[in-house]
């Protein structure tokens, strides 16, 4: 009697194993992953390097704060595209938009407005050259290593400020954290410098932008 009960359990167990082979095979995940590699026939053709997937473009968005001299600090949003020429150098185009707040004059005078609502939208674009200065791995605690590095950028562009387009020089520094082969996070600080006579005399204005961003490599 006892042996019959044992046999029933044995049959059940063997049956269960037989109907779900995946459950046992899955104990060695590496074997599963390798399967397609083993099955595939090697390509016996001439190797054409031009046909390889090239990922030299980086495209992404950014958001942060931008301080416009005399006009306060406001949110800035933008987009950027970069082309990596070598592992050291890249060229980058960036576009951003922010709004201008009120100058202290406008607030204190009670009602006087220097700019119309339309003119309070500020946009900029620039084309810059970047250099990766400290590429490598960075460590967080004992177990985490991130690929990435610091970069410096400088370039020229235009800013639509108070209805006028102004020649603008930008320079800054950023950190690129490469999360995967195709995804990176950025933290950037940039100074956008232009000259304007909007507030009376011709002056050089420094406008500091602090932003975080996300980019994809193509």
């Amino acid at each position: 009697m006892e042996s019959r009960i044992q046999r029933i359990f044995l049959v059940l167990a063997v049956g269960a194993a037989w109907v779900s082979p995946g459950a046992f095979a899955a104990t060695d995940p590496n074997e599963l992953e390798l399967e397609p590699l083993v099955v595939r026939e090697p390509e016996r053709r001439k190797v054409d390097v031009d046909k390889l997937d090239k990922e030299n473009f980086e495209f992404g968005v950014l958001a942060g704060l931008m301080s416009v001299e005399d006009f306060g600090t406001n949110t800035v949003v933008g987009a950027r595209v970069a082309y990596h020429v070598t592992e050291d150098f890249f060229v980058e185009g960036q576009y951003g938009r922010t709004t201008l707040g009120e100058t202290s004059f406008e607030r204190l005078s009670g009602g006087a407005q220097i700019l119309t609502d339309d003119e309070r939208d500020m946009t900029y674009y620039n084309v810059s050259v970047g250099y990766n200065i400290f590429p490598g791995e960075s460590f967080l605690g004992r177990g985490l290593a991130f690929k990435g590095g610091l970069y410096v950028v400088a370039g020229v562009g235009g800013t639509n400020f108070g209805g006028d387009d102004l020649f603008t020089i930008n320079a800054g520094v950023g950190y690129r954290l490469i999360a995967t082969d195709w995804l990176a996070f950025h933290i950037d600080v940039r100074d956008h410098v232009f000259e304007t006579d909007l507030l009376g005399s011709r002056e050089t204005k420094h406008n500091i932008e602090f932003s975080g961003g996300l980019t994809l490599f193509f």
């Binding site: 053709r45 190797v47 090239k54």
Partner: protein, 262 residues
């Protein structure tokens, strides 16, 4: 304002997540149709070094030995991402092109890892570039795209933003560029063209009107071949603005910048 910032960040993240979500199945589908080109090669040197990332700053974590078969997955700048089988597993890392040159295809032939040289400029189809300079006392920023009809003659479209102290403007033009000696490292060229210029006086200037005029120009310049696909480009142009006033206006433009060709 902080609320607004949080709103933007939230929107950005949502957009990014939606993007990621969409891109994964899209990539998988693309894979089915196109089957990415990932050829296998054999290491012919005693070893090649694999880095954790595409740059010399990333540490070497694995070395593939002579005779190992490696699969090339993709390329970024001068670095190749490769996969090397190792027992039951495999290792993935980045190898510099100088080391990839010491690999052979599966039939034992050398592989051309491609080096763009000076002579390739004469065989270009497209060239484009950005340059900046001085436009009659104002700053100018120009982008252009050119299509080579043959090694000597290129048709070119140019867009320029002019940023002055008292006015700003946009200029668009079409040019013909002639390179008499495209194979020289320092290669001179001549250009003529025509286009439109729109001038917008600054808001602080009283009683001035926007205007749009036709413009014709002739210029001379030189390309200096740097390396790979890159060119340093310097140019002088003499513009004649065909104004509606009695006299035409002559403007000198000097500029310098970088170009790439394909």
């Amino acid at each position: 304002m902080v609320g607004e910032l949080i709103g933007y960040v939230g929107k950005g993240l949502t957009l990014a997540l939606v993007g990621l979500f969409l891109s994964i199945p899209a990539q998988a589908r693309l894979l089915d149709i196109f089957q990415k080109y990932q050829p296998e090669v054999v290491v012919s040197d005693p070893y090649i070094e694999m880095h954790t990332g595409p740059g010399r700053g990333y540490p070497i974590f694995y070395v593939a030995g002579q005779g190992d078969r490696i699969e090339i997955l993709k390329q970024r700048t001068d670095w190749f991402k490769v996969r090397v089988p190792r027992g039951q597993h495999f290792k993935e890392g980045w190898v510099h092109v100088n080391q990839m040159r010491h690999t052979l295809d599966l039939e034992g032939n050398e592989i051309d890892f491609g080096e763009i040289v000076l002579g390739d400029f004469a065989r270009r189809r497209w060239e484009m570039g950005l340059n900046g300079g001085d436009f009659g006392g104002a700053a100018s920023i120009t982008g252009y795209l050119g299509y080579a009809l043959n090694e000597h003659i290129t048709l070119q479209l140019e867009a320029t933003q002019i940023l002055g102290n008292f006015s700003d403007g946009l200029m668009g033009s079409a040019n013909i560029v002639m390179y008499p000696f495209p194979q020289w490292r320092v290669s001179p060229y001549f250009t003529i063209g025509t286009g439109m210029i729109e001038t917008k006086p600054h808001t602080t200037i009283v009683q001035a009107e926007d205007r749009t005029d036709e413009i014709v120009h002739a210029g001379i310049g030189a390309n200096v071949y740097l390396s790979d696909r890159f060119i340093l480009r310097m140019e002088y142009k003499r513009h004649t603005v065909l104004t509606s006033r009695d006299d035409n206006q002559e403007i000198d433009q000097w500029k310098a910048g970088f170009s790439v060709f394909f």
